[in-house]
Amino acid sequence: MIYFDNSATTKPYKEAIDSFVKVSTSYFGNPSSLHGFGEKAERLLKQAREQMANLLGVKSNEIYFTSGGTEANNMAIKGTALMHRSRGRHIITTKIEHPSVKETMDQLQEAGFEISYLPVDAAGIIDISILEKEIRDDTILVSVMHVNNETGSIQPIEQIGHLLKYYPKILFHVDHVQGIGKVPLDFYKSHIDFCSISGHKFHGLKGTGALFIHEGVDIAPLLSGGNQEKKKRSGTENTAGIVAMAKALRLTMSEMNNKLEQLMKIKTYLLNELSVIEEVMIHTPEHKSAPHIINFSLKGFKAEVFVHALEELDIYISTTSACSSKHSSASETLMAMGVTEMTAKSAVRVSLSYENTIDEARYFIESVKKTIAQLRKVMKA
């Protein structure tokens, strides 16, 4: 099996599952319970928080655990909107955000907020001068993703942060779900107020995630209840999942240190080999893109057909983003980059992890060529 759909989800590390099982069996106490058994669970939670903060280069009181990236994005955006709606009702984001940001914005728009969507260039990157022009007196939040989930393009987060530094009333949210463990991001240097990550994108388990909230920044909670996570996110903590996520993050970060070069090599190899195939049109920009995502169209082929054809060879890739791949509408991200609807409908995404090898990449290229030849025969007939 060749699994090239790591931006949809990753295979959990065995070590992370072991931790999950161990915590679930031996330390199942409620961290809020007064007794020593609850204290043990609380200690695990604290340790996980510290470890994640260290790995992310922030303080442990700035990490809030959530159920995943979607919740973290909702929490940052709606929480800010709810908190600061009397100060302003204008939010700036981009045209290429993940649905968990985009749909949140749509919901806020219905509730009376005004949303500005920044365009992107052919490489899928926003123009900071346009961002600056969109800023108004009543702007309360700017939300820009770091690495795009469909194309891998990287937004200039640090520069945006430097610009927003001069607008102290505007908060800055970054969806870092695809970038974590692949493209380094300095939260402090980039003046980020909120940053979302998701455990299952770096070999943790589904149902775990975290939101970084800069010290001193406040939001209204979406979930009220037992006042867990310093009142910002109530609900009994998923101790086992959180511990597994902290472990997965440690392992991923050490893989980034050791294997990033290998990953780049695989990506370069794939880009080079794909670019010489006549039917292929590559959408992932050569520069300013993440080391693990390649998006390309196969001219004249429907994306689903191609995905299923590769599946027969035990190769797993994705049409666009997994969250929207069951709808057959064309990718909004690609269309925002100026790709035609026809071409966008034939786009597929290959997404790698540190566990993939160059041999898999070779086999993949061969299979792509073979599949194209075969499909062409069928379609011409």
């Binding site: 020593g36 204290e39 695990l44 340790q47």
Partner: protein, 402 residues
Amino acid sequence: MITYDRILIRYGEISTKGRNRNLFVDKLRRSIKRVLHDFPNIKIEAQRDRMFILLNGENSEEIVECLQGIFGIQSYSPAIKVGKDIDEMKEAALALFRKVYREGNTFKITAKRADKDFSLDTGEINQTFGSHILVNIPDLKVDVKKPDINIVVEVRKEACYLSCENYKGAGGLPAGSSGKAMLMLSGGIDSPVAGYLSMKRGIEIEAVHFYSPPFTSERSKQKVIDLAKKLSRISGGVALHIVPFTEIQQLIQKQVPDNYTMTSTRRMMMRITDEIRKKYDGLAIVTGESLGQVASQTMESMYAINDVISTPVLRPLITMDKGDIIDIAHEIDTHDISIRPFEDCCTVFVPSSPKTKPKLEKVQHFESFTDFEPYIAEAVEKTEKLIIKPNTLIDEEIENLF
């Protein structure tokens, strides 16, 4: 681009310590080695009045950051070693200048000529290097009073060293260079700060904590472990003695009148701490007491409490205001742990109105009806000793989870 090949470390106070100097330098070298554990290629060259960390390709910026908290360093500078050939020196100085120069910066040259046989004197060095840089960088200005960039050219017997960034060190004396003391660590804000300040003067700290289950919870013990962990970052490891104190506290409640229980409790704590000190060859006891802060910290209280031992009691915070102590607690990252709301041995049995001016004779009289000695011996006997390190968890099973 030119890269630094070494970091020059200046000792400050150590170099005035006469015959103790070798000991101090050796302790400092060990501290540095420990902190830079993750940089296996570095080599440390210690000399009489300075130390060099040879980078051997390791990242100078990361190391510069790591050195910030190490006691015994007055200041330090990343530097480049070059031969004493004037042309070679000039080129290296220019390359270094380009590395740090941003448009609009001013500069000066500071020459240090330890090698008195060198062909140029101090003024000539300034002049030669200054003009070489001026000629090569357009629109550059000299400012000898407040330059943005100060290029230090240091000519010594063996070579010439160039540097232009100077970082302030943490000061103080190297960890462990002043001998060992027992720190009475309660879990409050003050005692970790007292520990930190004594460590800054080179004292090796072993912490003593009084634990009274079920009156104080597992969480309060964890709090102290977390505090000790923060302190252990300074020295690489801290021993923590956990004294079972429930029985003695209950005995005091029974035997001593209410308004004197606090005084008596402190006296017992002192006696136990002193016994542990003897056992582990300590020379003093450190407390976080600050004059007048609470009932037990009035002059009268201290007089009545201190009477039980003759060991020196060091009180680094004695004259400090609470606000200043809190500032340091924030700086050393212990404040947020200290304010976790759990009872500790000092808060759990507080009488409604403790004596702020206890009389020594009275407390001696109240205690005279009970023989505390066997209880003290038993508490010392049952004391649990933990070794706390910055990154390790106490429980191996838990450690494997992460």
